[in-house]
């Protein structure tokens, strides 16, 4: 065991994971809430992120996922609850603060500057320099070499690091952002809907990078609204709805069907089926929805009985 981990253990000796009762947390939220004026965007959210684990945050549009990551990434400050990083209570005033604490965020749409070359994007905000005083300049060759090497390690074989990053595919761009976070020593990696705009194959590629980041010892927060993407890679699942936590599960306590059921909400699907029927929807499509409703209700029932 290295010194750092022992250090963490002693620091965190009073902290307990409510689920696993293990005393180490890279990052933890306890009863965190946020309001914008009189609008409550998030309330009472509790979650934890550990080394080499993937914590998935699931929720539909407007569930409060964005607010949650903005708090962790330092774009907004929480009004209630506490945020711990390696045992220290923190409140980030800027993204720079969060970055310095080892928390890197890969945003869905604003991960990179499209017109800039890949290597400039890779080192943006953390450029390597040589020389001193007013003659400090960027170490261009070294930056290009590192970019090529780091991306190769993530499994992207690049054509040319001078290419504007806007010419890469969506999946590749996500990967550049992930590789960048890993290279700059991020301990916690937040991925904001990395698969939302991608096709099936590209999504698979991104999921593989998530696992690679996890295997490199990072704590990953994976935000998504797709349980099919979350379940195979996640270790913990936090479900959000209308700014509130509606469930926090360890992987062993939940199945994909239950997760899907919790996400969709059985009652809402039933309502949809009813509505489609009234509109004279296509009978086959209707049957499909009805079948799904039955499935979801079953699963929800099962999960309820399991918990009680």
């Amino acid at each position: 065991m290295n010194a750092k981990q022992i250090d963490q253990q002693t620091l965190l000796k009073d902290e307990k994971d409510p689920l696993t009762h293990t005393p180490v947390h890279l990052l933890s939220l306890d009863g965190v809430g946020k309001h914008y004026g009189n609008i409550i965007a998030l309330r009472d959210v509790t979650m934890a992120v550990d080394n080499g684990r993937v914590t998935c945050v699931l929720g539909d549009n407007g569930a409060g996922k964005s607010t949650l990551i903005k708090i962790i990434a330092g774009l907004h400050q929480h009004d209630e609850g506490v945020l711990h990083v390696m045992g220290d209570e923190r409140k980030f005033n800027s993204p720079r603060d969060a970055l310095d604490a080892g928390i890197a965020t890969v945003y869905q749409d604003l991960a990179v500057v499209p017109l800039m070359p890949i290597w400039r994007n890779f080192f943006l905000g953390s450029e390597l320099t040589t020389g001193f005083g007013p003659f400090k300049s960027m170490d261009v060759q070294k930056m290009k070499d590192i970019t090529l090497k780091e991306l190769a390690q993530m499994g992207i074989d690049l054509r040319d690091v001078e290419q504007p990053i806007g010419q890469l595919s969506g999946g590749e761009r996500q990967c550049v952002a992930i590789a960048r976070a890993v290279y700059f020593g991020a301990k916690v990696l937040i991925l904001d809907e990395p698969t939302a705009a991608l096709g099936v194959k590209q999504s698979g590629v991104v999921l593989r990078y998530i696992l690679q980041a996890r295997d490199r010892g990072l704590g990953v927060i994976f935000i998504t609204h797709n349980p099919h993407h979350a379940f195979p890679v996640g270790d913990r699942f936090l479900l959000l709805k209308r700014g509130k936590s509606i469930g926090y599960y360890d992987k062993k306590d939940i199945t994909l069907d239950e997760l899907t059921a919790q996400m969709a909400g059985g009652a809402e699907l039933a309502e949809l089926a009813h509505e489609l029927e009234q509109l004279g929807g296509h009978t086959e499509a209707l049957k499909e929805v009805q079948a799904e409703v039955a499935e979801v209700t079953d699963a929800a029932y099962e999960s309820n009985t399991k918990r009680h």
Binding site: P95, L110, V113, M116, R120
Partner: protein, 349 residues
């Protein structure tokens, strides 16, 4: 055996990359469209006018270009950083008036006025940038407001302090001669008198190019112009970068303002209106994207040179100078279209 096997290439070439010729690499540079335009224009004027290629004529053209080019350096950087400044034309005159009125009113050494003018120019830049980042209003509105306010201040304060539309002569003041030598003298190269502003211009372009391409501040300038939110998210100080760019424009304005003042000994308070567009035109002809994130300092310089050639070339060709503005508009249109085509082709390759 070892001799028979072909040596494996050290860096395996990617089969997806067709070899890019140096020419197509050059074509991908932002300023290449302007360069082609400049060469065409040069050949055109050289063929219609015998005097155009005389060393003295070239020195005059370079001088004309430098008075636009010095400002185009700052304006290009600002445009790459995603903003533009409509107050630059009158801000140059504000700087010159500050220096002249301050040293005249207090009967001080001209250099005191020069330093005060620098502070005022940097402050104008700072205020432009600060209001912009605080209010998040578009730079068009913010700098249009500064443009109008400065225009009014130039006229009103000059009349209030000096009692005329023109600033009083400061040629009798201490330090005038040395300031004249620094800001408005000529340097003789092989018998040809070249104005010192040409050298200021070259030095500024060199510094700006180095900053843009080889320093982290340059990286930030491209980033805040390309996507300010993405830049902020990875820890780029967006606010400082933008304010710094406006102050760099202020610095360029100060140099040109000092030249305008010390080339003679007084400044007309109503001058400068409209010049802001010339600087923006030079930057755009030089390949800077109006929307930010793309361009070069050298491009802005070539844009200014095109302006200088068209301006003086019409005179050397003995045409009516009334045609100049038409020429300028046509040039702007052609240059931007060429830029667009070149950029699209470069991206496809």
């Amino acid at each position: 055996m070892a001799l028979v096997t072909a040596p494996a290439p050290k860096t395996a070439a990617d089969e997806r990359v067709a070899k890019r010729s140096p020419l197509s690499k050059l074509m991908a540079r932002p300023e290449v469209g302007a360069l082609v335009g400049a060469v065409v224009l040069f050949i055109f004027f050289a063929s219609v006018s015998g005097t155009f290629t005389q060393p003295n004529a070239l020195a005059t053209i370079l001088y004309g270009s430098s008075t636009i080019g010095i400002m185009a350096v700052g304006v290009s950087l600002l445009m790459i950083g995603g903003e533009f400044d409509l107050s630059t034309g009158v801000a140059v005159i504000s700087s010159a008036l500050t220096a002249s009125l301050f040293s005249w009113y207090f009967s001080m050494n001209a250099w005191v006025g020069v330093v005060i003018a620098l502070l005022v120019s940097l402050t104008i830049g700072f205020i432009n940038g600060w209001i912009l980042v605080k209010t998040k209003l578009p730079s068009f509105i913010v700098t249009l407001a500064t443009f109008l306010m400065l225009t009014g201040l130039n006229l009103a304060l000059t009349r209030l302090i000096g009692g005329s539309v023109s600033s009083p002569s400061i040629s009798k003041l201490d330090g005038f001669e040395s300031a004249h030598a620094v800001f408005a003298s000529s340097i003789s190269i092989g018998g040809v008198e070249v104005k010192i502003t040409v050298f200021f211009w070259i030095i500024l372009v060199a510094i700006a190019s180095w900053v843009l391409l080889r320093t982290k501040v340059g990286n930030w300038i491209f980033a805040v112009g390309g996507d300010a939110n993405a830049a902020r998210a990875v820890g780029v100080p967006v606010t400082k970068t933008k304010i710094g760019l406006f102050m760099a424009v202020g610095f360029c304005g100060w140099i040109l303002g000092m030249h305008n003042l010390f080339a003679f000994d007084a400044v007309q308070s109503g001058e400068g209106v409209g010049n802001e567009f010339l600087y923006i035109i030079a930057a755009v002809i030089g390949g800077c994207l109006l929307t930010g994130g793309y361009g070069s300092a050298v491009g802005g310089a070539i844009g200014a040179f095109i302006f200088g050639m068209a301006n003086k070339g019409i005179v050397y060709a003995q045409w009516n100078p009334d045609w100049f503005k038409f020429f300028l508009g046509l040039m702007l249109l052609l240059a931007t279209i060429v830029n667009l085509i070149v950029k699209r082709r470069a991206e496809l390759k």
